[in-house]
């Protein structure tokens, strides 16, 4: 199993203010799969993503990637792990305002010994024409494409997407989802995508539904459809 999550628990606060956000999560994802974490606000999906991404720690249980448990890693090792294996995409694009599109993507390329070919990626992202523009000269969709480009250029094993379409309109959202799908197919990265948009589950290989910190459904999507065909 490429990604294995075992009995993961996480709570915030102390004593009477303690809130259990994850109450024992178990699931696994095969390499190259798209896994959608679905659930309403407060269900713990972003926390789960952050623990998988090594930027948050579980109280109990573990996350194992290729047999290596993230909880056993010291901070330095964890940073190296993120550097080599993970790509992150957030709802807000978090681009560096005074770097151009190309340079923002180079920020990701710098982290890899064998980054993808930049111009080719720019073309894949549909940003080649805009490569010299600054983020504030781009639309929301273009900014998110740039953020995806930054995450994907280092060809990470896992692409973690936290509500990547949360700030976008329907059309642009679909474009971004198509792009993620395209990248998954082209580069074979495992994609873990957090969303509260129920329709997106249809493009996933695996769907994990969360509510109140627990898995309500965890299944392999036998009726996977192309992102372009998604409707909501």
């Amino acid at each position: 199993m490429f990604l294995e999550i075992k009995d993961l628990k996480k709570s915030f606060g102390t004593a009477e203010n303690r809130t259990e956000v994850l109450k024992g999560i178990d699931f696994s994802v095969e390499k190259g799969q798209i896994c959608v974490l679905l659930g309403p606000s407060g269900s713990g999906k972003s926390t789960l993503l952050n623990i998988i991404g090594g930027i948050d720690q579980a109280d109990e249980g573990y996350v194992s990637i290729n047999g290596e448990k993230t909880a056993d890693m010291k901070e330095k090792r964890l940073t190296q792990y993120r550097r080599r294996h993970l790509g992150y995409v957030f709802q807000m694009y978090n681009l560096i305002p005074n770097l151009s599109v190309r340079e923002n993507i180079e920020v990701g390329a710098y982290l890899s010994d064998r980054p993808l070919e930049l111009d080719e990626l720019l073309k894949t992202l549909g940003l080649y024409e805009h490569r010299n523009k600054l983020p504030n000269q781009l639309s929301g969709g273009q900014q998110q494409r740039t953020a995806i480009g930054r995450a994907i250029i280092k060809n990470p094993d896992i692409l973690l997407c936290d509500e990547p379409t949360g700030a976008l309109d329907y059309k642009t959202s679909k474009e971004i989802l198509c792009l993620i799908e395209q990248i998954n197919q082209k580069y074979g990265n495992t994609v873990i995508m957090v969303t509260h948009n129920d329709a997106i589950k249809n493009m996933a290989d695996r769907v994990v539904k969360l509510r109140d910190g627990q898995i309500r459904k965890n299944y392999v999507n036998e009726t996977k459809i192309a992102a372009a065909d998604l409707e909501w």
Binding site: I55, R82, R83, G87, N94, E103, A109, Y110, N136
Partner: protein, 776 residues
Amino acid sequence: MKNPLLKRLPRELIGDIGKYLAVFLFMTATIGFVSGFLVADDSMLAAYQESFEKYHIEDGNFTLEKKATDSQIKRLEKEGVQIYENYYVEEDADTDLDGKKDSTVRVYKNRSQIDLVSLMKGELPKKEDEIAIDRMYAENNKIQISDIIKVGKEEKTVTGYVALSDYSALFSNNSDMMFDAVKFGVAIVTDEAFDNLEETHLKYRYSWTYDDPPQGEKAEKERSDDFLEILADYTSVTGYIPRYANQAIHFTGDDMGSDRSMMVVLLYILIAIMAFVFAVTTNNTIVKEAAVIGTLRASGYTRKELLVHYMTLPLLVTVIAAVIGNVLGYTIFKNICAGMYYGSYSLPTYETRWNMDAFVLTTIVPFVIMLLVNLVLISKRLKLTPLKFLRRDLSTSKKQKAVKLPDIRFFDRFRLRIILQNKSSYITLFVGIVFANILLLFGMMMAPLLDHYQEQTVDNMIADYQYILNVPDEIDEDDTYTLYGALSRFLTPSLETENKKAEKFCMESLETVPGKRDSESVTVYGTQQGSHYMKADFPDEGVYISDGYAEKYNIKTGDTIWLKETYGDKTYSFAVKGIYVYPSGLSVFMSMPQFCCVFEKSDTYFNGYFSNEKITDIEEAYIASTITQDDLTKISRQLDVSMGNMFQLINIFAVVLFALLIYLLTKLIIEKNEHSISMVKILGYENDEIVRLYLVSTSWVVAVSVLLSLWIATWTIKVIYVYMMAEFSGWLSLYIEPAIYWKMFLMGMAVYALVALLQFFRISKIPMETALKNIE
């Protein structure tokens, strides 16, 4: 692959050019000035130190009542010294030929063996009516080469400017608190011209050098003490100054050294303040870019990579400022600083020396300070987890609740929130204002302090003239009724005067007993009961001391003071019965009977006159010196001449620092609140209302900081002043003119008003789109 974040740096620099340029210019000027100062100081100090050998400077000098005989000289030279005649004549000088004395000139023959002369400009005198004068004295009295000046009764043409190696600081009297390059000068004339000068003013000064010079000041002191004992056995010594104690030789070197450490400390404090400014503004950038930092950290960027990124620009600016500062230091500032030394001291010419020490102090150390301050403050901020950055939760404390504020007006509460939000900026601002105001207070207080000292000195002068007489030895008691005694009495000149205003007094010079401080000269007066000139009758037992003496040594009524003979080992103790207002120097006052008893003089003994009129009926030969207003006020005059420009420079520097800090930190506060300002604009607030919200809080902080800083600056100056004055002999009472505080406060607020106006325009320009664009 090069780190792509590097590409941000030039854009960051251009994007915030105001901040970087202001700090860069300030640091360049500061480093340049200090570098120039250190280079000039080091080069001139080296020239000064080399001058001891180059100009064969004496190991000491003594003055005798009469010319020493050859046999006396030979016997003294058996003590391992070489003795050189170094006679001088002290004459009144009239430099503008208006018929009035305007200064005193000590005239020497041109020297060929000891204390050689450095010709700075023009030529040495060749004819009898020619004279070469000290460069400093010439400059201060605006005497040009080829001018004619009157020295004594003779007119002489100035042929050149010289520096006498034993007069790098123009002290006319070694016990003076300060040299006087305005009213006192030295000069050389030809041997023939010297021989024709008034013999009555001739001083039999001899200089000596050791055959085997003692090493170190302690050995030098022991050797010179031994030599004095031998000397006193042979002849009547009226003056004895070993080189280590000769202010005219040493003051310059000591002063150069002390200024150096002060300058370096000043540089480091200023660099530290600038480092804090950078760290605070960088931390603000980190807050603004929290989400980006979180993303980068989540993507695998290490903390170190980001730390290096955020520290690069401050360090780069420091390095460039240090390099350009040093270039300016070696070119422009060096000359300015050398000019300041040349404006105070009679130094020989110097060659610029490469100064590794100055390079390290003005390049490496500022870089290290900038590195450490930023490293500590920025790395503390970057220690947060990527998740905290992503959530924009950058508080390092666990305290989550907002500080509870009193139930006051909304506007006031809002302002208090802004103050709490910007604590670190305001603390930096406060520290900067305190430091700027310490500098400003120092710069502004000195001129009024000197004026006040001068006024106090003049107001509390004992008399317009204090005549100190050359009193012949008293006739031994055994000879009172012998022929020798009668003959001696007959031959002893009369020291009496017909002048009815004149009043006799006794005077003796003692020294403080060396302890933590070196010994310094104290004048002991014995005055008449019911004196017309003294404002108090001094008791027959116990003494009064001058207020300056009391302040410097922290002596109170009831304490006992210990003093020792200047040229002997005998010590005296006196019970202090009161403090007498006499700012001119360190003095002890007692009644004449007590004086005669303490110093074992006859009841009729006196050696001076107080008089408000010039005494004309005592032969000049019997007047050792006359102390007038000019003599008593020389310190304030000289400090004004030497340091006046420096005080102005300090003032400008302080105001620039003050303005810079206020500008940078208010700018930061506005930038930090750009989003909120834009939001309240959307809500319908007018610009002036927004200004009242965001600038009034800063105005409060500035006003309170300025007020508090005045108090802190006063206490700091009080402490620094005591240390500073401890290096001088004598004492200038600390006086801070009350009006200075108003001036400083108004000046501070005026500078703030200008900056606030700039910030008002900045606030007006913040568009409403800022809030709309950044809804995250």
